[in-house]
Amino acid sequence: MNKRSFYALPSADLLPNRWDVLAILLVVGLIMLFAWAGSHMTLPFHLGQQPKITLDPSALPLYALQTVVRMFIALALSFVFTFVVATAAAKSARAGKIIIPLIDILQSVPILGYLSITVTGFIALFPGSMLGPACAAIFAVFVSQVWNMTLSFYQSLTTIPGELHEATQVYQLSPWQRFWRLEVPFAMPGLLWNAMMSMSGGWFFIVAAEAISVANQNIMLPGIGSYIALAIDHKDLVAITYAIIAMLVVILLYDQVFFRPLIAWSSKFRLTDMPDDSAESWLLTLLQRTRILQHVGDAIGQVADSIVNTPLLRRRKAPPPTQHLMADAPPSLLSNVLWYCLLIVCLGISIRLIWHFIYRQLPISDTWHVILLGAYTGIRVFVLIVLCSVIWVPVGIWVGMRPKVAQKIQPLAQFIASFPANLFFPLAVFVMVMWHLNFEIWCAPLMILGTQWYILFNVIAGASGIPKEIKLAAQNMQLHGWLKWKRFLLPSIFPYYVTGAITAAGGAWNASIVAEIINWGHHTLIAQGLGSYITLNTTQGHFAKIALGVVVMCLWVIVINLLVWRPLYKHAQNRYGV
């Protein structure tokens, strides 16, 4: 599996096994639980005095800074979660069996769905303070990156070369030392790549999460997201332009000062000796050559050293039996019984909650209606993926076949992909209102606006990876026209294309929650679909309906993954994988 893919597909099997089914039930139960808790909160809630947001451009740097701080808190939390959960899943076969399918399902839940359903809970945790909404926004960014990172780390942990692992055992490293000397470094390139890519996607969600309407109350956290929301309320095109410029600067800094240096630095952890030209950063080179910073680096090394080798966590005289030896001994009967009891209790609660919601709270006709709305959104996603493919596949191939152009375009495409497309929504609405366009149709391009780039840069990556000799052979045989596309170009980029399309489709489902319903001053444009259903019910505070909407969207995504993307992905790997 390509480490640099954005969207992880861990299980290769086409049919869900019993653990997947269990995971679906548990996740649905969890969503219902949140909704149930949310519906029991006192409404309307009290936030105390909300800070006033101004459209004064001089306030923008401070807003941007606050947004960035939220992003980094979420990133730090994601790392902690990843280290703990993925390690647990990799070390205990029993835990891994349920954790991995669970995460697989959790990443199919729409990100803004998490936000809709948890925001009241967070507000209740910190009554009368803006800390609640802030936590909710951070949580939304957290869930947009953590599943990817956990799966990536888990995958690395399970693919550590056997001899490296044996070496750490022969040389008596303690589990703690092994974690920092072998496991984390080995996973670093994949983990950082995933974290950085997810963080790119995170800008979209933080912008959406900073200004949210819950239960007929508008909450605005100081940040770029609420600045733009206010600008929309005031129909202020100039302020929107300021916000876009501020965001561009933030993302440019993020890209050059954070993302590129880290990726370049992480290339030292790669196992292969192949140089990777994409992994270069002027800033990192500068830092590494600065004398003072070298001393700083040494000091950090000393500190890291004393943490890794802390006597507390060093191997004791009598070493505990090793992994291999333990693998032969089955876990004790008692712990088995306890484990399965725990699972059964969780399952029971989930089923009880699902029952309660589907049959008590809502008429069954609602469920059918919501499934139908999901179909509308699904059709939009499908049509747009096809249209974008028709446009971007040839462009991507053209670019990818020209290494010099690709080198310039590729970072640009990644940069554009990380720009939160929802900043452009107001401009689009302005145009639609002016020209009286049908929003049912024209909301679709908005859904794909931010994620189409994944198709482009995956195809570019694929086309630039075509072996030179195959290119020469194709030229030598004078392949041209349709034959060249059918036998040479399309098959060689197909696995990359599928990865890109999966990511784009996943992103489009997520975006539907903000793209199918848009405000412009007093105008509200609504398109029939699952996204607008979730948003409308969030605004009105119908928790049962939010839960239903989120669950149905999650199930649609899972079913489409199962029926379309997984088979395609598997076929691509088998037939066209190099």
Binding site: E163, E166, V170, Q172, M188, P319, P321, T322, L325
Partner: protein
């Protein structure tokens, strides 16, 4: 002298699908004395590397025990260090940091471990490269770091798993000589014995004081050979050549005797036979070579190995395939072609395929089983999973996959059946 290592009745089975267990090591016993260098010689898949890992405490044996200085080994022991085939260096650590790793684990303070590591790096001839990353180094240099890492913790016993097999001939020889020098210097104070695994006969005779020849399926010690040569050994020495001949004899002859004595019913092989990993072209290529050399009677295996430039890992599977298909007799270090093989060499391509098909059906139960199954089906088709399942009763999943892939390759060549990659179906259609 004290027994350094005592290997007692070691057996090892890996789990298969039906829980029966695939035996890879069968009742191995030997002891290693202080001051000895012992070689475990055998072809790949004979379980010798697994045995080495059991001795290192990395894998638990299914039966028996390993005693290290009268202490039972059930986890890695501080006195035993190991050198790996693929070097197993951490790519993100510099040479110095890699060598320090074992000292770090012992909790030696940063300053002292740095000193000791630098000394070890110096001893192995790598000074000047302390700050290099492994990816900057050539294979030979990397393995030097592997040695420095193993030696810096002052091991009592050094285990080596094919330490030179990833290196080219010249580099391997250079490193081997340096290691022998270090051995002679340190034998007195710290390192008391070396146990290494190899598939290179010459290497075993060059380095070891004693060679344990390993047989496969499942792995067992087929024979033992004392090397009573001076420390400075010369490959051209007649005594050296005699030992090499002796090793080949051991590797080819005693197996049949042992098999016969052990289980009398093993005249015919069954579905549980592990097809050697050999392509038909290799088989015919080898026979052609034997044919050229054969004018003076049976061909000596060392001569053949020299001629075809194959080490035993590559040579022995082909020999096994020849003999199982009734194309050659391999015994006492010699190979003789049968009349069938002669007919095969003289035939044209179509005829060759027919002959191979006939031998496959006659000698390989799996081939016959597949063809019979396909005949019984009304559509004359069956999925590969079906046969995979059958093989999984005898083998681990990976081994079943390998055996089936080899069988499909042979079957396609001989046009016994056809196979479609996309659908995974075996069928009799398209077979001329």
């Amino acid at each position: 002298m004290q027994a350094l290592l005592d290997i007692q009745n070691i057996s090892k089975s890996f789990k298969t699908q039906d829980g029966q267990g695939l035996k890879v090591i069968d009742n191995v016993n030997f002891t290693m004395q202080e001051g000895e260098i012992v070689a475990l010689l055998g072809k790949s898949g004979s379980g010798k590397s697994t045995l080495l890992r059991i001795i290192a405490g990395l894998i638990a044996p299914s039966d028996g025990q390993v005693m290290y200085r009268n202490q039972k080994v059930n986890a890695p022991v501080p006195g035993i260090s190991m050198v790996f085939q693929s070097f197993a260096l951490m790519p993100w650590l510099t040479v110095l940091e890699n060598v320090e790793l074992g000292l770090e684990a012992q909790g030696i303070p940063r300053k002292i471990r740095r000193e000791q590591a630098l000394k070890a790096i110096d001893m192995i001839g790598m000074d000047g490269f302390e700050n290099a990353y492994p990816k900057e180094l050539s294979g030979g240099m990397r393995q030097r770091v592997g040695f420095a890492r193993a030696l810096v913790i002052k091991p009592d016993v050094l285990l080596m798993d094919e330490p030179f097999s990833a290196l080219d001939v010249l580099t391997a020889e250079n490193l081997r000589n340096d290691l022998m020098e270090i051995w002679q210097e340190t034998e007195q104070d710290s390192m008391k014995g070396i146990l290494f695994v190899t598939h290179n006969i010459e290497e075993a005779v060059l380095v070891a004081d004693r060679i344990l020849v390993f047989g496969s399926n499942p792995g067992f010690i087929r024979g033992e050979l004392k090397v009573e040569l001076p420390t400075e050994r010369n490959t051209q020495d007649p005594a050296f050549q005699k030992l090499i001949d002796e090793v080949y004899r051991l590797m080819t002859s005693s197996e049949d005797q042992r098999r016969r004595s052990k289980k009398t019913e093993t005249k015919a092989i069954g579905l549980d036979y592990r097809l050697p990993d050999v392509r038909v072209a290799e088989l015919i290529g080898l026979l052609e070579q034997v044919d050229e050399l054969q004018e003076l009677g049976p061909v000596d295996l060392p001569d053949l190995a020299e001629e075809v430039r194959l080490d035993i890992d590559n040579l022995f599977p082909v020999l096994e395939a020849c003999s199982i298909l009734g194309l050659a007799k391999v015994d006492q270090g010699d190979i003789t072609m049968t009349a069938k093989a002669r007919a095969l060499l003289e035939a044209d391509i179509t005829k060759k395929k027919e002959l191979i098909a006939k031998q496959l059906i006659k000698h390989i139960p799996l081939a016959k089983y597949i063809v019979d199954t396909l005949h019984d089906r009304s559509a004359e088709r069956a999925s590969e999973e079906r046969f995979h399942k059958v093989l999984e009763e005898y083998f681990t999943e990976d081994e079943a996959e390998r055996v089936l892939t080899t069988m499909i390759d042979w079957g396609r060549y001989a046009e016994l059946f056809a196979y479609d990659y996309d659908t995974g179906l075996l069928s009799l259609e398209d077979v001329a």
